[in-house]
């Protein structure tokens, strides 16, 4: 499916979805409330059938006080990509898990929790994945500091 067509299809599914610019593949910003329902539609809609969650990660926009989640979707059937962006408040990043839509989301969400502290509602097993269970802080946040860190090189 062409990029424009793809975007308009997504917008027909979720009117609140807006185009996310400065991304080099079709990308939509959606409100966080619509996440699990929209994701399920994206997967099940025959014209879209995004059956694979390639990667799920987050970007910490420290200055704007928000964390932006990125869901990179791929359809093995139609061979097209879509990136879905969800903005969360940096102080209380809570979103509903999509682990029942794509199995792999369970672990990718754990990683995002581990690195950014994003909390996932109705996640079956939310715990740290790469760091120890008792680790303090979320390392990929821009303001993360610990005693092992060296100063950034000039």
């Amino acid at each position: 499916m062409e990029a424009n067509e793809l975007i308009s299809t997504v917008q027909s599914l979720e009117p609140a979805a807006t185009l996310r610019d400065k991304v080099d593949r079709p990308a939509m910003s959606v409100p966080k409330e619509s996440v699990p329902a929209l994701m399920r539609r994206l997967r099940d809609e025959p014209a879209l059938s995004f059956d694979m969650l390639c990667a799920h990660t987050a970007i910490d926009w420290h200055n704007e006080n928000r964390i932006e989640l990125v869901y990179q979707l791929y359809s093995t059937k139609h061979r097209h990509y879509l990136a879905v962006f969800v903005s969360l408040l940096r102080d209380m990043p809570v979103v509903t898990s999509v682990s029942d839509v794509w199995r792999i989301a369970e672990w990718q969400e754990r990683e995002v929790y581990d690195m950014f502290g994003v909390l996932y509602r109705s996640h079956p097993d939310l715990r740290r994945i790469l760091l120890d269970d008792d680790w303090k802080g979320f390392p990929l946040r821009k303001d993360y500091k610990d005693e092992f860190m060296l100063e950034a090189p000039k």
Binding site: D24, C54, Q72, D133
Partner: protein, 388 residues
């Protein structure tokens, strides 16, 4: 809004034991497979719930070799970041380098020439063969046959030598740079690659006789650890693992990069998604890679090997840039978030092994400990790639 609880590994194991604290399940017990275990290929830890020899549940525990590559990347220039990707999936170092180079080139509008792309394709395919050779040897060893390991390494050595002559390193190559390759190919490169291909073809037949056709190996793999196509896709598996499940998703074919569009090759796919299919797909991929190299090796066009001066710090325009390549283990993806500087604002690497590993939680339960070893080995896991 209900409270979201964050649990711990102990909690997870307690849940696995059951609400009654294991009183009703005296048969079952937990063992740690790893972090130090001969067949977890590094420092991977699997908490196994066993019933005798039968695996009931697999809980992978990660992070023993987490180095924070993404955090480090936020302080390194794009060119410097390349050398960190060597250390993710060290058996596909060139493909990983390529992913970063591709992302930067696309973002910064750097036009590479045909020569660069051909060299990149050839070395990446050579390394794919080397990676599969190593995997073949290790797979044999995981099944209990030690000799294939040495044979695999013996033949991998030939490729290592070829790459070493051109690149100067055997494992952490840091060869494919944004805007070209670090060195031009060595004058002997083409001759040696052709020599290798003639050397290796009969050896591959030996591989087939030694393991593929061996009745014990076949029985160990047949029907073991079946991963259906739906599950493989839902679990985000890529590479040979996905293709063995019958989904012919190969980036080299679906979105050709480099000069893959010029080369004729077949995509091997499996039937059932069992260990046999995963094994066969990899062996066949060696053949296809040799085909690709054969077609390209005599047709390396003339040109410069580097189009951007290496001393220049490449600035990438603001925005989010993706690139993906097909490594020996699956799709390696890079997401660059740039704020216009020469250092990424955020860099995310999507590593194939992270997703591939989790299929083991689906395929292993119900099989025996010995089969779990086969399944892990058939996934061809490189642990630093999982932990990043």
């Amino acid at each position: 809004m209900s409270a979201i609880t964050v649990t711990s590994l102990d909690e997870r194991i307690r849940r696995s034991i059951g609400a009654d604290g294991g009183a009703s399940t005296t048969q079952e017990y937990f063992v740690n497979m790893g972090p130090q275990h001969p067949s977890t290929h590094g420092v991977l830890r699997l908490v196994l719930k066993l019933d005798g020899e039968n695996v009931r549940e697999v809980i992978p525990v990660l992070g023993y070799i987490h180095r924070g590559v993404e955090k480090m990347g936020e302080h390194l220039s794009y060119r410097q970041f390349v050398h960190l990707t060597d250390r993710l999936d060290y058996l596909s170092a060139l493909a990983n380098n390529w992913a970063v180079a591709k992302a930067v080139e696309k973002a910064a509008n750097i036009e590479t020439n045909e020569r660069i792309e051909t060299i990149r394709t050839i070395v990446a395919e050579l390394q794919r063969i080397a990676s599969h050779q190593l995997w073949w040897g290790v797979f044999g060893m995981d099944l209990g046959a030690f000799t294939p390991f040495l044979y695999g390494f013996r033949d991998r050595e030939k490729i290592s030598d070829i790459l070493e002559e051109t690149i100067g390193a055997r494992l952490t190559m840091n060869y494919i740079q944004p805007g070209g390759v670090m060195f031009d190919i060595h004058p002997d490169f083409q001759r040696k690659v052709k020599e290798f291909l003639t050397y290796f073809r009969p050896k591959l037949e030996e591989y087939e006789t030694l393991l593929t056709q061996n009745v014990i190996v076949q029985e160990r793999m047949r029907g073991v650890g079946v991963l259906t196509a739906e599950k493989a896709v839902s679990m985000g598996a890529t590479g040979p693992v996905l293709r063995a499940s019958g989904v012919a998703h190969d980036l080299r074919r679906s979105e050709p990069y480099g000069v893959y569009a010029k080369a004729a090759f077949d995509v091997p796919v499996g039937r059932n998604g069992d260990c046999w299919d995963r094994y066969w797909v990899r062996i066949e991929e060696i053949r296809q890679s040799m085909r690709i190299i054969e077609q390209l090796i005599d047709n390396i066009p003339e040109g410069k090997h580097l189009v951007v001066k290496p001393a220049v710090r490449t600035k990438v325009p603001e925005g989010i840039h993706y690139s993906q390549v097909e490594t020996a283990r699956g799709i390696f993806g890079v997401m660059l978030v740039s704020d216009g500087k020469d250092v990424p604002y955020r860099i995310h690497v999507r590593t194939p092994n992270f997703n591939n590993l989790w299929t083991v939680t689906e395929t292993a339960p119900g099989w025996r400990v010995a089969d779990l070893v086969t399944i892990i080995s058939s996934l061809d896991i490189v642990v630093p790639d999982i932990d990043r």
